[in-house]
Amino acid sequence: MSRTPLDTVEHAAATPDVELPWAELGLKKDEYERVVEILGRRPTGAELAMYSVMWSEHCSYKSSKVHLRQFGEKAPQSDALLVGIGENAGVVDVGQGYAVTFKVESHNHPSYVEPYQGAATGVGGIVRDIIAMGARPVAVVDPLRFGAADHPDTKRVLPGVVAGIGGYGNCLGLPNIGGEVVFDACYQGNPLVNAGAIGVMRHEDIHLAKASGAGNKVILYGARTGGDGIGGASILASETFDDAKPSKRPAVQVGDPFQEKLLIECTLEAFKEKLVVGIQDLGAAGLSCATSELASNGSGGMRVTLDDVPLRDSTLSPEEILMSESQERMCAVVEPEKVGRFLEICEKWDVIATVIGEVTDGDRLEIFWHGEKIVDVDPRTVAHDGPVYERPYARPDWQDALQADDANKLPRPETSEELKDQVLKLVASPNQASKKWITQQYDHFVQGNTVLAQPEDSGMIRVDEESGLGVAIATDGNGRYAKLDPYTGAQLALAEAYRNVATTGAKPLAVSDCLNFGSPEDPAVMWQFAEAVRGLADGCQQLGTPVTGGNVSLYNQTGEAAIHPTPVVAVLGVIDDVARRTPVAFQEEGQLIYLLGDTREEFGGSAWSQVVHDHLGGLPPAVDLERERLLAEILISASRDGMIDSAHDLSDGGLIQAVVESALLGGIGARLVVPDGLDAFTFLLSESAGRAIVAVPRSEEIRFTDMCGARGLPATRIGVVDGDTVEIQGEFSLSLEELRKAHEETIPALLA
């Protein structure tokens, strides 16, 4: 894009008729016209570059904003929330002076184009968001969705994504403690690679992305800026894939986890010495984003000399420098007298750091190149005043037919033998099978604070060695449920993550989300999005868990085919003493297994309907959030008071899936009896929400059932932990050996 003469502000004003490549940069005609209107002249090439990336769907949330407002409007009153939506990540008070920041983001499009680097830099980006809040990152989680497990392209994408997440996260020294792996043909051309991270800090260490104090220096530190990732946010993440267009591979960034590890240590050391006034990481939209956000959130303006940006490639044009998404870079605002010490710390960690500008007392963001002014904008217009679309949305005409195609009417197993075969098929199906082959490529142990990691219901990290204070996180989402009913589907995702946190004994506090959908330009997709957001906002309000931030990923669509609407919800919880955590595994023979909650005939969107009938239709399970709250309270009390030794949430695959997992992890079987009023099929395979199984030591049985009775939670004794088989009395029996083989061999056979 380099042009002669240099396209300065002055030059732009003098040459109003020069045509700029706004369409190639992803802007729409009316958006470009708006830029001209804001500036009162045509933009310079550099200004156009900034607006094009900052006004992209990925950075500006222009299609989703009008709906996302509900998260603020319906936010429940919560004393725990220290920093809400709008910053790099939300911050939650977990007590004892500690604060926790967490967030989930998407790196879907790059991970399809270039699985290893796409996934790796997804981890890098979310971790920098956490550091930018002032926190030490303590764990990561990775909710992943791929195409059909036996599709040849899945064998290209999945191993690359998993190796990328491992390669980056392991090298940063962050334990990977949770997430999901889901297969469905709808994700074939649009895998979902979401990445979440948690960080811990003291309350007084919270940092924000703002540039205040005229004369303060703007320091760019970390990796040099190269030509990678140019247009990542705009032309890659904000458009659908299309075979007719050229490869988007050059828009994917390349990660260097070693550099990021140095960046973490050096940033935390600078925080410790209180050298930083404001800080922002460079992710999507790179320097365009960092400078415009820092300046617009602060009290003054900012002047930047682009020539001072350390480059990997000296031929880069100013536009390219502004748009580059080179990884492992951060921008700090530092008082002049502290700059020396800041640079010393960077030097200690061999991190390149350069003063590239300063905060001014004006209100403009001015950027210079070779002594000439190439950007002169009000930073708010770039960072916050992007276009907002009220995209048309409409319930798709096929929704009624889909819901009428009732999964409860599918043929059910007629004999015990048939039921047994279907159970075996279910636990071996790719979605229900053990994901050990994947998760063992991630380090769970580093930092020495991991209390629980996958396949536990939630990951749990000790925060304080003395008191045992800990935090738990679970991420869940079920695109099949959401396709049947996006409002309920989003609430089911929330309910499941909430339940998973409570199952391990932690109290759910706050929510982050990653909303993965197709093209917002399709009214049907937009309706799914609007419904899901409404469902999630209503659900969070009812459960008292505010949304602290998150991410929207649209355009997950190839041609006309959109993915299932897939809201992924992360719930963060706190536990006073991690010694009281409840694991999934059965612990001791003779303990009594109780089923908590009500079981109804609910098979819409179920794993059974998918595995046995390749069917998706009907309605998803009903949601009762008050029941979820009661169940959570019981699980937390029982864990705190030592009434249960293991617990497992019931979700996809139903009760039998949960029992098999608890048995295999504990190496002890179970004998179950079908309770009165239920048939064996519904008992084992229904996916009714608001349920969990717990193992109760006999000495605690009365205390436990009394508590459930007094609180009005149905608790049904369904069996006992025993032996080396899973036996359903009067139906069938499966040895642990047989179950283990079925459950653990599927994924390696498909992918190793």
Binding site: G167, F258, V446, G448, V451, A579
Partner: protein, 226 residues
């Protein structure tokens, strides 16, 4: 009295703070050592922790071996200073020729993280006195480049001299020759292993086992009784 045990931080070290914690839990005093500093601060023993020093972009440990701190470590190890290299630290020790052999990428080409069963083959080294020879223990393992290799002559020599300290049991996680998980030098003061004893020191954390704690109590006893 107690012992002062240094833990070196290289750029890209990951388990340095965890190792300091393990030393503290064993009752010794951890001392942070910095890779650019030749001064060992008069510690009684040194641990080179796990991680990806310098990103392991060259060969694992190949650059760290030339850090200023390693000049002193190599010199003093030859004079008898107890040195333990864990994972990346083991790789650094082979690169520094304090231990024979080398580490290659895992034979299956994936990173692997698991609770690994080991047999203690030598309970006579500075770091293994609190184990029994033949004892079976579980220690977390997590690495990308953990395949121990050496020529036949060296392997035979290690076996003959009882210098194989740990062997993988039931499952060889990386293709290491003769299932070797850890070795020692002739004097028994330098030990390197791939699994991470510092991640098996607390009953609540990680795999919930404490089979790794004897590493740190062994050295403490040896230093205090010396």
């Amino acid at each position: 009295m107690t012992a002062r045990i240094g833990v070196v931080t290289f750029p890209g070290s990951l388990d340095d703070r965890d190792t300091q914690r393990a030393i503290r839990l064993a009752g010794a005093e951890p001392v942070a050592l910095w890779h650019k500093d030749k001064d060992l601060k008069q510690v009684d023993a040194v641990v080179l922790p796990g991680g990806f020093s310098y990103g392991d972009y060259l060969r694992a440990g190949a650059i760290s071996r030339f850090s200023p701190v390693m000049d002193t470590v190599i010199e003093q190890a030859k004079a008898g200073l107890p040195v333990l290299g864990i994972c990346n630290g083991f790789q650094v020790l082979t690169e520094a020729h304090l231990l024979p052999g080398a580490m290659l990428g895992n034979d299956h080409l994936h990173f692997i993280c698991r609770d690994q069963k080991l047999r203690v083959e030598n309970a006579e080294t500075a770091w293994t006195g609190d184990y029994r020879a033949g004892q079976e223990i579980h220690i977390p393992l997590k690495n990308m480049d953990g395949r121990y290799v050496a020529d036949e002559y060296t392997l035979d020599k290690l076996e003959a001299e009882g210098r194989v300290v740990f062997r993988y049991l039931d499952f060889n996680p990386n293709g290491s020759l003769r299932d070797i998980a850890g070795i020692t030098n002739e004097a028994g003061n330098v030990v390197g292993l791939m699994p991470h004893p510092e991640h098996a020191v607390e009953p609540l954390i990680g795999t919930g086992r404490t089979d790794g704690l004897p590493f740190f109590t062994s050295i403490l006893k040896k230093l205090v009784n010396a």
